[in-house]
Symmetry: C2
Subunit: 138 residues, 2 copies
DNA sequence: CTGACCTATGCAACGGAAGTGCATTTATTG
DNA sequence: CAATAAATGCACTTCCGTTGCATAGGTCAG
């Protein structure tokens, strides 16, 4: 518990009760999480607070946002080494068409792409879709 | 004009007046187009008709949908050789942070990625973001 | 301790975009 | 021409992200 408080403090986020709970919730999940997911897990908390908590976490580099193509924004905790605030940690994401979950594949970086003359890339998003390990296993 | 009618017919889309206009509009643009874009270009047409036209085009392989991370669905005509209906034509897309336009880089295919054991990829989406050729040119 | 102050939270409402149900018009075909 | 099918138009809904403003709660100077 104290580690979470420290982690948040280190990232310039005041460790309120709610924020610690949300952090804990995200830490226990191994899949990307939407605002609605959190809303259902903390039914008595206000949606706006949860929304703003995620935005604060994002700005302070506690979580990174994931666009998996479902049209719903998702979030996941940043890895210890990751420095999203400065430059994107360009790992890829996998969305399962079966269980509908999205996971970070933090070990798999997005390969460098040679662009035509005049194009300058600053950021990249790569999402693979298919069947995840849990769903293909059985 | 007759070519458009033929093209639509070949793809199993009845060439109504509206559909031909929309096709022409898409053909004249070299950037991905949203429903709202089309709505503004054809102010007197109903949004639902435009929406369903795009969906019909998509299903019949006339256009492909593009998710560029802006949260707005975009569409672009498929290349002559492309066969989106069967399998995705996995070219990448570039979104300009300056002019806010998204373009198809049809020559640039998404590289193959080695996934961890158990993951089976069926589809992929790669979007690069930065400054496009038109915006970096000056 | 106390008041001033800043931040976090809660409540309400807004806006954009995707999508659906149903009535009506337009095209097709026997 | 009549019967049928397809396309269009209108109204309405839902979902999600977002903002404005009022209140509660924690922090700190005096
Ligand atoms: Mn991730
Ligand atoms: Mn494209
Ligand atoms: Zn799965
Ligand atoms: Zn540009």
């Amino acid at each position: 518990m104290k580690e979470i408080e420290k982690k948040l403090n280190d990232n310039g986020v005041r460790p309120t009760a709610m924020r610690i709970l949300i952090y804990k919730y995200l830490a226990e999940k191994d899949v990307a999480t939407s605002l609605t997911d959190i809303e259902m897990a903390f039914a008595k908390a206000d949606r706006t607070t949860l929304f703003r908590t995620l935005k604060t976490f994002e700005k302070q580099g506690v979580v990174h946002q994931i666009d998996d193509g479902t049209g719903v924004q998702k979030y996941a905790l940043c890895e210890p080494g990751c420095n999203c605030e400065l430059e994107q940690d360009l790992h890829l994401h996998f969305h399962c068409n079966n269980c509908d979950e999205t996971v970070c594949l933090t070990e798999h970086k997005i390969p460098h792409i040679n662009l035509p003359e005049g194009f300058v890339a600053e950021d990249a998003n790569l999402v693979l879709k298919g069947i995840c390990d849990k769903c293909s296993g059985q």
